[in-house]
Symmetry: C4
Subunit: 231 residues, 4 copies
């Protein structure tokens, strides 16, 4: 994997820590080199304070370590399954950020209550079903990836239009075209999870915005006729 890509992955890991979305070692960012089929990820349980590019771990699509002196993050198998099944995904993030985790623990989808949500997520951020006992006792991290894929397949959601999920009773996984893009989606998910909780507190009957408003906001930033930004 190129140093440029590795540096981006390191930077995305450090940003999450700097922005307060990650405490201790609770979080991990990975990125993929699609041509080589190599994934680079944060090492397991290593402090952010001293993390350097050579501490990252590079694996192949079966999780075999190719480069790096540490063990990869224990969530590696979830990341790999996301890369395998969502072929446009270039970066994956997992955190226990407070408000996204609160929604995951509440076990409900995060509705698109407003345009802030619609600017980045084209519809509700879905919450998975709970894993079965067999899944938990089996290849747990891989099965976590499987239930994420199932959620998107069963509900016919485009993972690049809704780049995140709430794993029931656990927390958020987010992704994007690149590791930095995935990191940004993580920050946005935490923000909209926070705002939505307050909207519900103010008005327990708050409902999702109209489809046409969802379309307008998502597509003015992400559609082929996007006109937001300097494009």
């Amino acid at each position: 994997m190129t140093d440029t890509l590795k540096l981006e992955i390191l930077e995305a890991n450090l940003q999450l820590h700097k922005m307060g979305l990650v405490i201790f070692t609770w979080g991990n960012v990975s990125g993929i080199d699609r041509k080589k089929g190599h994934v680079t990820i944060k090492p397991s349980g290593v402090s952010y304070d001293k993390m350097q590019v050579e501490d990252l771990v590079t694996v192949d699509m079966n999780g075999n370590v190719i480069e790096g002196k540490y063990k990869p993050s224990s969530d590696l198998e979830t990341h790999l399954e996301i890369y395998r099944q969502f072929p446009k995904c270039g970066g994956v993030v997992h955190t226990h950020s407070r408000m996204a985790t609160a929604w995951a623990q509440a076990g409900v989808d995060l509705p698109a209550f407003g345009t802030t949500h619609a600017d980045y997520f084209y519809g509700a951020v879905p919450c998975t079903r709970a894993l079965t006992d067999a899944e938990i006792q089996g290849a747990y991290e891989y099965e976590t990836g499987r239930v994420i894929i199932e959620t998107f397949k069963n509900n016919v959601i485009d993972p690049m239009a809704v780049p995140g999920v709430l794993v029931c009773g656990h927390g958020p996984f987010t992704w994007g075209k690149t590791a930095m893009d995935a990191m940004q989606n993580t920050v946005v998910l935490e923000e909209i999870a926070t705002i939505a909780c307050s909207s519900l507190a103010i008005n327990s009957k708050t409902s999702a915005i109209a489809q046409v408003l969802l379309d307008k906001h998502y597509l003015r930033k992400h559609g082929s006729d996007a006109y937001y930004g300097q494009k």
Copy 2:
């Protein structure tokens, strides 16, 4: 437009970012030179970290770019409609600040629950109706301005006494005599939106303060007999 005015607009943009009311590029401040009919606004999707006065964009009242190398904020047409219809307004701000956005998403007016509110907003901060599908699919940003004006006209609210609005399912727009004044009203709106949500959580029957208390606080700061501050 004079450099002094442009510097104030830049400063107001940077302040919102510094105070945590804006993340990424989610927000924009503009200011107007009423004599020339020129409006200067933040460029669309440009990072705050490196923003300089020459990055701002100056347009005429029809939105034609007069000066600046970037595209103006995508919310420009909303700002312009506010300037056209509220002739005493000298600066406009749009953010997705957490708690004001939570109220906008809840789709309800922010009541004047206390004197903190009354010191800056002379009555409830109104929430607009939702835009119609036709408005969203048409000139969306201009129609957002139209529904703001409609809210103030239909409810006979003086826009300089209630210098802000919650756009339903979207977020707050605020304004003031100058860009810095508008920026200050944005901070206050976020503060009173935060406090009001907690008041409701403590006592779901919390009600607006009496008209006479609203009068007292608003007028001791803003009336012709104001006695707050060093005036």
Copy 3:
């Protein structure tokens, strides 16, 4: 008034700002020299960033300015009435800090839900009745002081054991033996107001602690047999 006392009052003003309990110019601390009957207070509407000891204003017990180039805080008459009626009080603070203000707007007493509260406030922090129209339209700031005194008299509360009050629809006033002591009580009131709101959210039937626990905690810090700290 001695420079030492003035410096303490300045420092207490600046501390509130530094700790985030005050934004813009929303707050004021005063202190009293009981021998001379002189009160020194923050000037009205002057920024904290550049505030210096010579910006403070000294008045006599009737509010006549003795020293200082600025107008005193508009809340001066409330401070003076507190000093007149609570003779052991040496410092007074007024803020619009978020959570104490939320309780004041909710219009309910802040119950002693735990020992954190009991360590500083010997019972519920009372909320005043709403002022009458005549009181608001009359000598408003003085009447605010009057309703605070009435609340303590009618409920037979010792103001030095419960050094704070919630003015209904307005916000907290706090006091103490000195300006710094009053400042500390302000910070504590904000903290217990925050915790109490969350306790209610978790369990809407949360009730005040037993009188004997209230006694134990208050008296181990403040009674004649206090054994907390290095006394």
Copy 4:
């Protein structure tokens, strides 16, 4: 006690303050030298800003001061009872951190709503019963320790698997293999108390995760077959 151990205890005290879990002097960390039966603890009511290793107080298991110029923390007897009854415990922490205290004041157990909780606490963090009047009026701090022990005994909870408790109407006590470990559990308890409160706000029927998921997460970090981190 060795200087290394004392420095760790000092560092754990300072960390809590730095991380915002403690304001003023509201909190205390202690550590034990099991061979000598000596406990070192923060002095009572001394500011964190200037705290140095020589300010700590060392006592024997009966609370007699062996070393140190200050009085020990007033909560010493609670710490000592925890050390006596939980023989694997090497460090104890007490704070009034906001959200853990909110749960303690609410008087209810903190359920294991998610895997963040399960990673550190193997089941609900229990809330004690309220102390009786006789306990409060007697050896209060010792009785606080007694009721903690009773809670773990009666509910057959392993204190090293659930390294914390909510003392009803008071606040959290946490512990761990070392003082730093106890400090880390304090931070985690505050984090999960915060997330759980939001989960309840989103969905009042949020329920604890399945036992098999609790097992999986706790044991992948703490069991004999742990595979988290670089072990």
